[in-house]
């Protein structure tokens, strides 16, 4: 049986797109990462049997998107070109609330990029995409217990970092 990309994308494409777009909040970047993830999946399928296309695509897409976030954070730019600014993603009636929510999202993305890669991947796949620890463990070649430990560490680190950001903001309004 040949992998039918049309069928695979019809079934799992939306999940891949959602995972990557949520992480990046930018259409062009998300498209670029999805294309890369699909090329990765194609290469993977040349050498190994794929039983869980949904989990595989979500994992590869998440990995590519986290790489992209890390790359963006490492550039440390003082100004950002207009086309690189994330698209307004949250719909609320109040502009102030919208600004706060957008800022919080940006903080989370920024902090996520600072986490060790495996922790970031497990956090995203379990908390955001709703995969079980068993599924994530199979994709990341680890045991379910390792996945749980990584998630616990990721959450603890993110909470600390978000808390520190908040305190800094309070002292440097």
């Amino acid at each position: 049986v040949t992998p039918d990309w049309q069928m695979i994308l019809a079934e799992h494409g939306a999940q891949l797109w959602r995972a990557v777009y949520r992480l990046l909040g930018h259409y062009d970047d998300a498209l670029d990462c999805c294309q890369d993830a699909l090329l990765d999946a194609h290469r993977f399928a040349l050498t190994r049997r794929v039983d869980e296309w949904g989990a595989l695509l979500a994992t590869l897409g998440t990995r590519r998107a986290i790489d992209r976030l890390r790359e963006q954070c490492s550039r440390r730019r003082f100004t950002v070109p207009l086309q690189d600014v994330p698209e307004p993603a949250v719909e609320t009636a109040e502009p102030v609330e919208q600004a706060k929510a957008t800022e919080l999202l940006q903080q989370l993305r920024h902090e996520l990029a600072k986490l060790p890669v495996k922790q970031a991947e497990v956090f995203w796949l379990v908390c955001m995409e709703g995969f079980s620890h068993d599924e994530v463990a199979r994709q990341l070649a680890m045991t379910p217990n390792e996945s749980r430990v990584l998630l616990h560490r990721a959450r603890a680190a993110l909470e600390t970092m978000l808390d520190a950001d908040k305190r800094n903001a309070r002292w440097n309004p």
Partner: protein, 425 residues
């Protein structure tokens, strides 16, 4: 969603998670765009072998792998030594270069267009994934920028200070073409290509680099690729299109994965330029499109079908079109709208006929036929996988028939890459 144990001060984290989950997700890009980097023909051929293994076989190899690995390694080295150098199949070697091309995120290269009856055009092209493209004429007078994602392209004429912005619409709208995506799609989406379609051309030296060459005969183009085995990247790609007139595209001086500023692809018209905007029906070439193309040709060509669907015939249609177009080199805005619409309808229609594969057994027999003549076939072909022929009659009706019509003087539609002499260099 998984409910994980929470800490006491994770309110912000939970809030951020909840915000992210409520993000408005834009519509997923088309499958074609998402898969534009996946070389589908490699996937198909290679994975068939992989999938044919049974789980029992996999299990056997998993158990025996440590024992047999050393023996297999020795055998593989011996086998490789026997086959090397240059014993890899032409298809496999060709496809290694294609993979690099498919994975490129940006590129700068030079394109030379050689069209029969036209002066040679040289352009500096830039490509930035996904789908952004810029082409500058050698003189710098004309710049074309396109964006496949939004189906739009813009042409800037610096000498006349005019800008044409075209929005492509229509059912199954084709994306604006650019040379890079076209190359990639042509080379990476040929699932039916067999090994005999590839031919090894041996070694050559281009710009002081040792290169190896291959030729690939696709249904729509004859492609010659010269690649540098040291880097794995293509160095020169030549393609001859099967459409009319015969057109050769030669791409050289490739630079891959370089930093290109976004400003190169900015589609804001320069200040002080006159902007003309067109909405063009750019539907995918179809049988109905060909019927519309014939109808439009009849309307402005004095009630006649084209003499032939080859270079001479299409050139005559273009000549009639130029003669009837009003306003010469400085047409009014309405005239420009009419010219673009008419040219697109005719071009789209004829493209359908000229892009049909040889197996479609397409024929044209419209020369000298009076439009409206009942039961007089002017064009027929066999759609892929169909058992019956589709026939377009002189009254522009379409019917299915079991056998190809027998019409004296009917001409078979041939690929120009095989039938015409190369354009002058």
């Amino acid at each position: 969603m998984n409910q994980e144990p929470r800490g006491h001060n994770d309110v912000d984290l939970e809030k951020a998670i909840s915000e992210i989950q409520s993000i408005r997700i834009p519509q997923m890009p088309s499958q074609e765009l998402l898969l534009s980097r996946v070389p589908l023909h490699l996937q198909k051929r290679d994975v068939i072998g992989h999938r044919s293994q049974t789980s029992a076989t996999e299990s056997f190899w998993r158990r025996r792998l440590p024992v047999t690995a050393a023996a297999m390694l020795v055998a593989a080295i011996c086998f490789a030594w026997l086959l090397m150098p240059g014993r890899q199949s032409a298809a496999e070697a060709f496809n290694k270069f294609v993979e690099k091309l498919a994975a490129a995120k940006s590129a700068r290269y030079q394109t030379e267009w050689r069209t029969v009856g036209e002066p040679t055009g040289v352009f500096q092209d830039y490509y930035l994934a996904p789908g952004r493209f810029r082409s500058e004429s050698q003189s710098g007078d004309v710049v074309m920028i396109s964006d496949r994602r939004i189906a739009r392209f813009m042409t800037v004429h610096r000498t006349t200070k005019r800008v044409s912005v075209m929005h492509l619409t229509g059912k199954g709208t084709r994306k604006p073409e650019n040379t890079f995506d076209r190359m990639r799609e042509l080379l990476s989406k040929s699932p039916d290509a067999k090994d005999w379609k590839y031919q090894r051309l041996g070694e050559n030296v281009i710009d002081g680099r040792r290169v190896v060459g291959f030729q690939y005969d696709s249904p729509t183009e004859l492609v010659t690729l010269w690649g540098d085995p040291a880097t794995g990247y293509p160095v020169r790609i030549e393609s001859v299109r099967s459409g009319l007139p015969r057109t050769e595209m030669i791409t050289t001086k490739f630079e891959f994965n370089i930093d290109l500023p976004e400003s190169l692809f900015d589609m804001t018209p320069p200040p002080g330029y006159k902007v003309l905007t067109f909405d063009l029906d750019f539907a995918k070439p179809s049988e109905q499109g060909l019927v519309d193309g014939f109808r439009t040709t009849i309307e402005f060509a004095g009630g006649e079908f084209p003499e032939s669907l080859d270079f001479a015939g299409v050139r005559k249609v273009a000549k009639d079109f130029k003669a009837l177009a009003k306003g010469g080199k400085n047409p009014s805005d309405e005239e420009m709208q009419w010219r673009m619409k008419t040219a697109t309808t005719i071009g789209n229609g004829y493209t359908f006929a000229l892009d049909l594969p040889t197996s479609a057994d397409a024929h044209y027999a419209g020369k000298g036929v009076k439009p409206g003549t009942p039961n007089r076939p002017i064009f027929w072909y066999k759609p892929e996988g169909a058992s019956k022929y589709h026939v377009i009659f002189a009254d522009l009706s379409v019917k299915e028939v079991d056998n190809a019509p027998q019409v004296p003087g009917a001409k078979r539609i041939e690929k120009t890459s095989k039938t015409m002499q190369p354009a002058a260099k």
